[in-house]
Amino acid sequence: MLASKHLVARVDHMAAGEDPNEVPVRMRRAIGRLNRRLRQTRAGAGLSPSQYEVLVTIVGRGPMRHADLATMEGLNPTMLSRIIGKLEAAGLATRLADSGDGRVVHVAATTKGRDVVTRVRGERSDALGVALKGLSAAEHERLVAALPVLETLVDRLGDGRP
């Protein structure tokens, strides 16, 4: 009973209509899994992934207009306000009124917010460092050779973040 239930879940997960041997499909799945693993290392910060993502963006880009930030994060303004409220309450971000136009709100990271991002990045890199130790010397060499391709691919995407 249990086994058959799991088999069904497995088949569902394989997703209809895609070839699991194609490189883009394999890459999408590997990136998704790796990212989920990395997300789990973010224990200390006590932030939800959405809150953390917003914090990373304002740490990387500097102060941003609330409206621009909402667009960039794919969030509606109400949801973003809620997230900023959480970050502000935790002392990680501040809201600033525009000096020229009082109706425009800017959002900026605090020093504490920047420190949190630095710490989380360190934790994630450490976790990856541990995983990399599981690679053979030959695999390690292949990774060094192939990583620039992934970096070039990502750089060309222009995700709007530094």
Binding site: P24, A30, N35, R39, S48, L128, L147, L150, L153, L157
Partner: protein, 157 residues
């Protein structure tokens, strides 16, 4: 808006240069996180990032409890309730009472929810296919080699 800066700003300023392995881990982290973010932005299918993530987890976990979903999504119980309510409103999931413990609520993906996930996967696949096709053959071979390594890094899930 501040101008774009190189990716190296990731490293805290004034720290000692990283050892080669640490640098490799750090570069891999940046590349993986950014690619994941870009893929997600390409393929939200009208959902917020948190909704899309929750929907994928509900499918993967095979009708989780609200508590299990909150844990895996790393959100507080009120937030997971709000997420599930919004997905339910869109017809993508349904709430069910657990067959054994009537106090436990589970979330199940609907056929429409599965179609939405499939659409998201197709959009991501198409995006990556286009990007990989733009590489020259040597780089395409390296991208495949890298994918194999990433699979090795994440197996078994």
């Amino acid at each position: 808006m501040s101008p774009s800066r190189p990716t190296a700003v990731d490293h805290p300023q004034g720290t000692a240069p990283l050892a080669p392995d640490e640098e490799l881990a750090s570069r891999l982290r940046v590349a993986v996180t950014r690619l994941n973010r870009k893929l997600r932005q390409q393929a939200l299918a009208g959902l917020s990032p948190a909704q899309a993530s929750a929907l994928a987890s509900i499918n993967r976990l095979d009708h989780p409890t609200l508590g299990e979903l909150a844990a895996v999504e790393q959100v507080q119980p009120p937030t997971v309730t709000r997420l599930v309510t919004s997905l339910e409103g869109a017809g993508l999931v349904v709430r069910e009472t657990d067959g054994i413990d009537r106090r436990v609520v589970r979330v199940r993906i609907t056929a429409e929810g599965r179609r939405t996930l499939e659409r998201i996967r197709k959009l991501k696949n198409a995006f990556l296919t286009r990007r990989l096709a733009a590489l020259d053959p040597a780089d395409q071979a390296l991208a495949e080699a890298l994918t194999t390594l990433l699979e090795h890094l994440v197996a078994p899930e």
